[in-house]
């Protein structure tokens, strides 16, 4: 069997093994990586910096554990930034697992020294309203009556008990909406209803695969977009809260290089086999 035949018939388990090595080995390396910040990521950070202390922001968590590797670092960093800058966070989700992921992010964020120093209180500085069914209809209803959509928090307590929800009728009481999105319903719906219809400033954190779609709304309809783990790493760099996004960029770099090498090798094998085939046809 020639080298070309071997290249064409490579067992995919070798590919899997190399990808696994490319992802895991960098986790044990300490290589410094400079994170270049895109204007889309800068847009989210700039929008947050412009908010005065005490402003209410909505963190809409529309994702599940499947995409958490990419977007959970964004949720953690967003919470760290808001709680350490006295921005009050209203958490909710149009995906059932979203608010639970937010709970996990909160546990991480509350352990950060900058956040812990301010000792944020549930119901005063942050609240988790939980999941609500209805997809984009929920956002539309929130534009006129948030308490009607979320009469209770995720633990079943009436939202009237919480100072953070005082005088919150609609998006007029909210300074910024940050949607963490992994699909439908997600950023597109938040832009269409909260942004375009009710004029709430919307920012997005999303998976790398969704980001190219959401970039089209930047900068007019969305203040910024964090795309994938790179976006998370950029956001961490911009806010000064280094976390998993920055730490795992090395793995992502290696994985991308491995995939590109496979594409190159596959194409070399493809062109060589095509030339061999043409030669054989010419000889015949």
């Amino acid at each position: 069997m020639s080298l070309l035949d071997r290249m064409l018939a490579v067992d995919r388990r070798w590919i899997f093994l190399l990808v696994a090595a490319a992802v895991t080995v960098p986790l044990f390396l300490e290589l410094e990586q400079k994170i270049e910040v895109t204007q889309e990521s800068r847009g989210v950070a700039d929008a947050l910096r412009a908010l005065p202390a005490g402003s209410r922001v909505i963190m809409a968590c529309d994702y599940d554990p499947g995409t958490a590797a990419e977007v959970q670092p964004m949720a953690i960093t967003f919470l760290k930034y808001c709680l350490s800058h006295q921005l009050r966070v209203i958490i909710m989700g149009l995906w059932p697992q979203g608010p639970m992921q937010a709970d996990l992010a909160l546990r991480d964020a509350l352990r950060d020294p900058a956040v812990a120093a301010l000792n944020p209180q549930y119901g005063v500085d942050y609240v988790n309203l939980g999941f609500q069914s209805g997809n984009e209809v929920v956002i539309q209803r929130m534009g006129s009556d948030i308490p009607a959509v979320f009469p209770r928090d995720s633990r079943g307590r009436p939202i009237g008990e919480f100072p953070i929800m005082e005088n919150v009728r609609n998006f007029g009481a909210v300074a910024y909406v940050f949607n963490i999105s992994a699909g439908y319903p997600g950023t597109v719906e938040w832009i269409q209803f909260a942004g375009d219809r009710f004029h709430a400033p919307v920012g997005s954190g999303t998976t790398a695969v969704s980001a190219p779609l959401y970039y089209t709304y930047f900068p007019r309809q969305v203040t910024g977009v964090l795309g994938g783990m790179k976006g998370a790493a950029e956001f961490e760099a911009l806010t000064g809260f280094p976390g998993k996004g920055s730490r795992f960029m090395l793995s992502q770099s290696f994985a991308h290089v491995v995939v590109i090498l496979f594409i190159v090798l596959g194409n070399i094998a493809f062109f060589l086999s095509r030339r061999r085939k043409r030669r054989a046809e010419g000889a015949a």
């Binding site: 590919i15 546990r107 089209t216 491995v258 590109i260 594409i263």
Partner: protein, 215 residues
Amino acid sequence: MVPLFLTAFVGTIFVIQFFVPHRPFSSMQGLLTDWVQIIVAFAIWLGALNLMRVSAESVSKREKGWPYAVIIIASFLLMAVIGFFFSGGTRFQDPGTPFDWMYQNVYNPLSATMFAMLAFYVASASYRAFRARNREATLLLLAGFLVMLGRVPVGDQITAFLPDGYRLSNLADLIMNIPNKAGQRAIMIGIALGIVSTSLRLILGIERSHLGGEA
């Protein structure tokens, strides 16, 4: 006739209230969105029950892969029972409850694993299928190549010898901001026009496939 009338009525109300956010349309919209939420909530239950029905049938008929159906049923019941009866009622999501433990230590890693497997299949598929067979495929390949490298720090490290503004990250930004945005916007406008057209057909009763009739 009743479903057609309901579709036309509700659709018209939603359209009007978008442009006239005043009474009576605003209050009607509130009522209708409440109904939508209730219907969607029931749809979630319907989906869960249907999953159980399909899985139970698969087990009873010993269809191909039926042991997986057993795992689905067992997992569903386990999470439901733990959530409803052993996790403090409405506080089932609190840290330390059995439901929270199951979510963090079983559901979360399993779900992440399913998604993470994509990386392996993408690498394998890119080796076998991502070929520069013609001009369009070559363009796609090159764009993918540049964006993949430009969107990770290693891309700029490879092109560190170039002046700032000409490195791979700048090239990736250029691709994402100009051809990508132009193409995506064109597709989105096309989709939006299609949605408007289909919605009008639904409201006017021309499109009836959602009722089980002929389109």
